[in-house]
Amino acid sequence: MADALSAAISIGFHGLAFAMVLYLISVGLSVTMGMMGFVNLAHGVFAMLGGYVVTSLMGRHGVPFAAALAGAALVTAFGSVVVERLLYRPLYGGDDLDQVLLTMGLVFMSVAAATYLWGPMEQPMRPPRWLSGEIAIGPRGFPAYRSFLILSGAALVMVLWLGLERTRFGLKIRAAVDNLRMAQSVGINTSRLFTLTFALGSGLAGLGGGLGADLLAINPNFALDNLVYFLIVVAVGGLGSIRGPFVAALLIGIADTGFKYLLPELGAFVIYALTMVILLWRPRGLFGRA
């Protein structure tokens, strides 16, 4: 009995950490897809970039953890603006196929670029000394880094949600996601709003990729390997929704961790089957709008 409880706590803990990483990476994708209807399969590239920046800065240049994270967020935010303005913008409102092709092409290029710049091996993530080891909560010890991940993830989520609810910028985002044409007609500069939102979402993804480098391995195939997960979180959560992907990430994170632990022969199979069932029942996602 105590074993089952312990296992449950473990699964819950690690699942929650995984969920945080998934959410931080995917929320930007949900909002931008919901706002502009743009199929961005290359979103994972930004998370990967964030992961490489953090591991490189810390590993090769000894940059402190916090600074490395900040660097990751800034680099990805900036890079995303360039991509959005140059490549994505001409395709808004166009054929789905064009968007799929373009973004898949970028993913392929990212695989090669990452191999060229950092080599084919996985980048090891060494958490800073003050976050390694275990911390004691009650009778158990929990990995300190993962605990930090959960706490900082939660804090970021809180800041994000508050920001969206309380600020003018957040209001504009919610308006544009809800009804783009209406937002334009009340004078919101949607083109600039989109670039900013895209930068914010990509920056968050970079941050998530960096924070979660030991959960989602940082290697050149990152964007391809994890594409399904990010898309599942967004589709199950509901495009354009901000809270939806959080619930979806929790579901996926905990279920994935649980099944891999309890039924490793099935692996991620259950997640995919679960996704299909949920999307069959609610094609717009759990929190999507009809």
Binding site: V39, L101, G105, V228, I232
Partner: protein
């Protein structure tokens, strides 16, 4: 296209429109070109026949993708699911004592069609991103299943020990690839013939309607879901046949047969030639595969860089592929 050429040739549209329209399905001499080229290649490039066989099988795969993507307008990232299902079916049969190729091929086609039917029932209820997502999930699900069922599929290492018997007991699969080439050519021909029939039938025309404006299709009383399901299932069977061809002629099946890369590259091969024209596959696939063969000495990773760049450039510059470029040049 052919009709515009005839109109420009001086046929008065008012009197000839119906006749021209009714003749679209007739064979055009140019359509014999790919087959002549394939036969010529058999004679002229005897050392490239194994590659040639793979190209022919992949053309069949791309053709099946064209039916779904180009004709019905269903954007899918999981078409490899059917290719892989066919490949593994033929492969598992051959690795477990039943190496008869033709029945293996048929079994593969049926298995893939079944997967197409079942997944289509789920996937085709949706549109847009959700549809795209679902196709990816189906393919990933099958990939994961094949990975875990390693006792049957060989898992990560791939399926080993395939033994394919001679066709009709007479034609052995030889090292030079002659049997493989002719085998693939015949199957491709049959597949192409069927696909062409469908494309020119009223059913095929209604698919283009679904692609161009599904709202309007509903408004003229068309059973949209049923039509999409039929073509999806058929195309899945065709893709499975292509997968079985590759499996039987290379005596190997790996997880990559089901993967996102394979789904993605068949799209790019089709785009190069042009979607929705039935012949895009015949242009895009050989171009891609021959180029890949030429560049095979380079690190495979850098190949993906150029392919990625090509995809980006195609979207930015040359939308519609080579066929569309030809159209534009003609004007």
């Amino acid at each position: 296209m052919a009709t515009e050429g005839l109109v420009r040739a001086g046929l008065r549209p008012e009197s000839g429109a119906v006749a021209v329209f009714a003749r679209r399905h007739r064979f055009h001499p140019l359509e014999a070109l790919p087959w002549a080229a394939a036969i010529a290649a058999f004679a002229l490039f005897p050392s490239y026949l194994p590659l040639g066989a793979q190209i022919l099988a992949t053309i069949l795969f791309a053709l099946s993708a064209d039916l779904v993507l180009g004709y019905a307008g269903i954007v899918t990232l999981g078409h490899a699911a059917f290719f892989g299902t066919g490949a593994y079916t033929a492969g598992i049969l051959a690795a477990h004592g039943w190496g008869e190729p033709i029945s293996g091929l048929i079994a593969a086609a049926l298995a893939a069609a079944l997967v197409g039917l079942i997944s289509g029932l789920v996937v085709l209820r949706t549109t847009g991103l959700t549809l795209l997502m679902q196709t990816l999930v189906v393919a990933t699900l099958l990939h994961e299943a094949a990975n875990k069922a390693s006792a049957l599929t060989g898992g990560d290492d791939g399926l080993q020990g395939m033994v394919v018997w001679p066709i009709f007991g007479l034609f052995r699969f030889d090292l030079f690839g002659r049997t493989a080439y002719v085998y693939c050519l015949v199957v491709l021909f049959l597949g192409w013939w069927t696909a062409r029939q469908i494309a020119h039938s009223p059913f095929g025309r209604s698919l283009t309607g679904i692609r161009e404006n599904v709202l309007r299709m509903h408004a003229i009383g068309a059973p949209v879901m049923r039509r999409r399901l039929v073509i999806y299932t058929f195309a899945a069977g065709l893709a499975g046949t292509a997968g079985a061809l590759v499996a039987q002629t290379t005596q190997f099946v790996g997880l990559g047969f089901l993967g996102l890369e394979r789904s993605g590259t068949v799209l790019i091969m089709l785009i190069i030639g042009g979607v929705g024209r039935l012949y895009g596959a015949f242009i895009g696939v050989p171009l891609y595969m021959i180029a890949q063969d030429r560049f095979s000495t380079i690190e495979p990773v850098y190949w993906y860089f150029w392919i990625g760049l090509l995809m980006v450039l195609v979207v930015v510059i040359a939308r519609g592929g080579i066929f569309a470029l030809i159209d534009r040049l003609r004007r």
